[in-house]
Symmetry: C4
Subunit: 381 residues, 4 copies
């Protein structure tokens, strides 16, 4: 006796399970236009630097801004807690492994100083660079006016899973439509992974959404909560919401894939899945001069891959310039991200990120798994 | 020449192959109602402690009952064979590996003493805690009245595979409808995995069924017998039987997923697959004060993962309190099970376990496999 | 522009990818009738011992026959080349690794002595045991009369891939219909894997067919030739041919799954896939007193898993009695094959091998892969 | 709320995921006709040697030509840059690992000497062997007349991804129809992987196309660009284009699968996927007397598996004769390629490569993965 179906399940795909198909036309990579927009602001590079203390501080934001990118400063990290955040960053990079959990807990227990919010933003803006900042929903209403007043260009609200409707008997949740109307700058909200949730957030007036819940191999959200949608499918579903919302409203809300991207190939796949840009953390933490000094760590729940109390060694692999524009001495897709994207667009025969959304993708599972087993066997044999 | 189809095969899914999709609404985790019912008895926690000697003894059952859970005492283990079971448990935890097989065989060959059945049950009930006990079908008819008389709240009948109809020329099998009518307390029966078998058992008047045959990685049922259904599909099919039986009878029979759950994420997936509760063994054996003292072992066929004669070291990872409610110092889903469940319900936007049954699940295969290969390569490189 | 489909491909399944579903009825394992028939000959056990020198010699055939099974003697191995084959078997088990290839080549280059064919068969028959022998197609016509005359019960013709029609300009291939008519004893032919090939061989009058081309992990047929069909699908397709042939002719031709079976679980799956029996090699080579003395080796092309020149250490794991009937001290399905089969039939609720063909199977991929990765990581961590 | 589908994705298959099904007829392997044609030129072997400096030099091309194959000389390697290329090849094989990148960069920065193009081609042609040469699109127009004049038989134009239309504002791309009309010898173009791209290239008058973008486990195209189609699907799609083009034009354009082939089994699968021939690199680099002297290295982008600057040790495994015709002392499909192909055609019951295109293939995923895990565990256990 066969069972009636209790629940319907779709198959969801991650970066490892898909590949792009070259086009019927090829294009000179130099002709690729890789710019991307949040609201009316245009950026040369479709790559955001994630709001993590080990990735973005003021000097990084300035340097990255000059190269055409957008770095997001976390307003709940050391930058807005300490007059001299440098000191804390150095301490975190020098701490021995057994001390790190208590040190992190101590450092991040200092209250946020609202005065520092303005100071950091101004320090970035004074150089002429664009400035983006990130907070959790609980702090959004209070910090948004301070940030806007200080000249911030873009305001991000991030938590592991964010929806337009939060149900609570004990407090009134953040209402994004109110936030978007009350601040004069574009609001970006994340993270979400589904069509319905994305569409509803868009209807609240946000300028962009961040896509990704439990995507990466290192991310424990899936082990702890059972929750997570692989990024190719998550991006596609949110991109479908963007198209639906564009049709209903005439407004284009950008989709930013955040999390699980380990190399330039994954970045290209995210864009082909419908993203307008990607957000990277660990890859930037590996650049020379990154505030993490060869480490990355979790500050709080928004960065589920690194729960508070964990610090991982990521190393330093080259300058920010090399990371973005090469030349690359390695062939694993960890350097020359922009060059790789341009080449990808060239072989796929597309000129804009919007065209990338139409590139054919195939499900091409697991060919690397066996290759890796071979390599492992050989290295150890 | 293509072959006509000899046999139709459905795809069955396990915990590793699915993931939950966050909802369009989020809910304050504190509002989640995670209680669960067997018949008219309500429990604060939807987690049963498995009927294994290394998991449940009288003190554990009392402690766990006070925390809101239900522990199941095995009436065919040391508790009902020895006046002083403690002595045996200590011996088992101290035995050296080469001695363990013969020691287990010796310890479990002592006959069950019916007098001890009542004694153990009363010891639990005297503290005010609820009491559940488990036997194999062969002993059900004899022990059920003793248990009920001693004040037992719930009576479990468990074997590797249990059906409502057992065919034998040499003996008359257990008739569940007779058992359910003859004892005054709810009867829970397992294990089963299919719609048809579950439905038929329900029609015999049981209060709940246990789901799981050969589910886990460590379980040898699949290697030895070729038999086994991955738990997501098994739970879904039995939940479909529950819905069908509810429609035909108006009675709600709870579904308890038993086996293969390694972390809080798996537990959340089981509930989203249609389970009303889960039953855990090894995770509880790892709690401080568990009778196994850092070990777990197989007592008999009902626990196919641990055939009689095998003992595995599971270690001690924290207090029962920590295991259930945190705080968690690790991020692998082995601690703070209740906190994880509440957070999962929050991000999925549901308030009751019943709502959990409607949460969207996707098939998200194997993304961790490659991640693990990477980790292994790095740890060893 | 999407491609028109160049070729249609079905999915084929192997043992690792499927699992049996317990039935709605359970049956006392003692009631299972596991006998199997080739033509009018009935055997107590549905397990053949493979025609390999390391598996079957005269004493093994006699011992296995007494336990109810059928052992197949290879007429192209040492048994029919040497008056004293024992001497060669001892030499092969004592040779050092660097010597083994040349020793194998030397030993198997001695011509077959037709006189010994009769001698070996008589030695088996004189004990009252049934006798089966195997040859390659090239020797079938010459050796079949000798074997039949000596009292042989069953005559096998085996090569890597056998079809009813062999095209050659330089020689006239074996015509199975002529062979079957010319010899008075049942002819069993293999190996084949597809519906069409199996059906055509059946129409030539054979009594049973052997199923399996390139099935096992160790088998190099797939790496060398690209050829191979996983055994679950291969068995199902040949079983479909059996059903079709039964309908068209009224004759039942037994299906014997040969190759790729590593444990009792695989054996149960083969039977549930439609096989009437299985043929095992390495598992028998591991029994005490097996002629291989803890080794197994390839003699010629029919045993593609072990190309001539390769010898592998399989070890000795227990008596033939233990292997078949237990008791089993291990839980990996390598012992107590018959007990496992009976238990499997019990939980699946079936009484005959024919009923096994109707047991539900699910596609349950890869749950063990991750489990194994874990185990490996832990053992090495 | 389910998402509307953003993008449709087909499943693409690689060699590891398919297997050939034996036929209903078997054929004497000696009767197999394995010849293959490019335009009006017939070759005894359907195997090209890849245009890599470590694989093909003049002596190799001559030796391989005499055995019936076609070797392709790279006109952008050392052969057309140095009067005495031997010296450079020796230097590259003797360099220590830390020196190799700069040595490669230095060696390949010397300008190509057009005079040497004619010299090398004549050196091959003077022996009576056929000669094929390869260039990148940028050099095609200039070098084609030189090659044709020197007596070259076949002219290859290769880059990672080649299409019939290349869009650039800064230069006029290569127009294949012009190239094909202007040179008197057959033009072969690659690499491509899709139906549309292949069809369009065919319409430009080419004689054959090379199939493969990012196919192999070692190939970094997929990690760096996210681009790549597994070879079975890529070959099938291009073969579908060949059939469509044959119907529309009456001309047969050969399909050559290039890349990702690790053993004779993969080669057989490529032919069964619709290829008329295959192109091999590393396997030939392992033959005695190969110019790489036990190494292989990347010269430029056309060989994405080996980016410029990387050299890998491939070892020397036997003579070219052994590699092609055996005898094989190993069973991993790395030797006796022709014998394996003939045997494959025999068991599949086909006589020509064209018949191979009709052989049934099944999707037979990953059975070897677990086998390999076992092996690894055992080797290390």
């Amino acid at each position: 006796m066969y069972s009636p179906q209790f629940k319907n399940m779709r198959i969801a795909y991650g970066f490892d399970e898909v590949a792009l198909v070259p086009g019927e036309v090829t294009v000179n990579p130099e002709q690729a236009d890789i710019s991307f927009k949040i609201d009316s602001l245009t950026f040369d590079l479709p790559i955001l630097a994630a709001a993590m203390d080990a990735v973005v501080d003021v000097p990084f934001a300035v340097r990255y801004g000059k190269l055409g990118g957008l770095a997001v400063l976390n307003l709940e990290g050391v930058q807005a807690r300490y007059d001299n955040p440098e000191e804390m960053l150095v301490a975190l990079s020098r701490a021995k492994d057994p001390e790190i959990t208590s040190l992190l807990q101590k450092i991040y227990s200092k209250p946020i100083d609202p005065r520092l919010i303005g100071e950091r933003i101004k320090a970035i803006k004074d150089t002429g660079a664009r400035c983006a900042v990130s907070v959790t929903p609980a702090n959004a209403k209070n910090f948004a006016p301070l940030a806007a007043e200080a000249g911030c260009d873009i305001f991000l609200v991030q938590s592991t899973v964010t929806t337009a409707r939060h149900v609570s008997k004990s407090y009134r949740g953040l209402v994004f439509s109110e936030l978007c109307q009350s601040v004069s700058i574009p609001v970006v909200v994340g993270n979400c992974v589904s069509y319905g949730a994305a569409l509803e957030i868009m209807r609240n007036g946000v300028a962009a959404i961040l896509v990704g819940v439990g995507p990466g191999a290192a991310c424990t959200t899936r082990e702890v909560l059972g929750v997570g949608v692989p990024q190719v499918t998550a991006t596609m579903d949110c991109a479908a919401a963007r198209e639906a919302f564009l049709k209903e409203s005439g407004r284009y809300v950008s989709i930013i894939t955040d999390g699980g991207i380990r190399n330039s190939g994954d970045m290209c796949k995210a864009l082909a899945s419908g993203a307008d840009a990607v957000m990277l953390g660990s890859i930037f933490a590996q650049s020379e001069g990154a505030p993490g000094r060869g480490y990355n760590w979790g500050m709080a729940t928004p960065h589920a891959a690194l729960p508070r109390g964990t610090r991982i060694r990521v190393g330093t692999r080259g300058t920010l310039q090399q990371l973005l524009f090469g030349p690359s001495s390695v062939t694993d897709g960890s350097q020359n991200l922009v060059g790789a994207l341009r080449t990808c667009m060239g072989v796929c025969g597309v000129v804009t990120i919007g065209d990338m959304h139409k590139v054919e993708m195939v499900i091409a599972p697991s060919i690397k798994t066996e290759g890796k087993l071979f390599q492992m066997a050989q290295q150890r044999g």
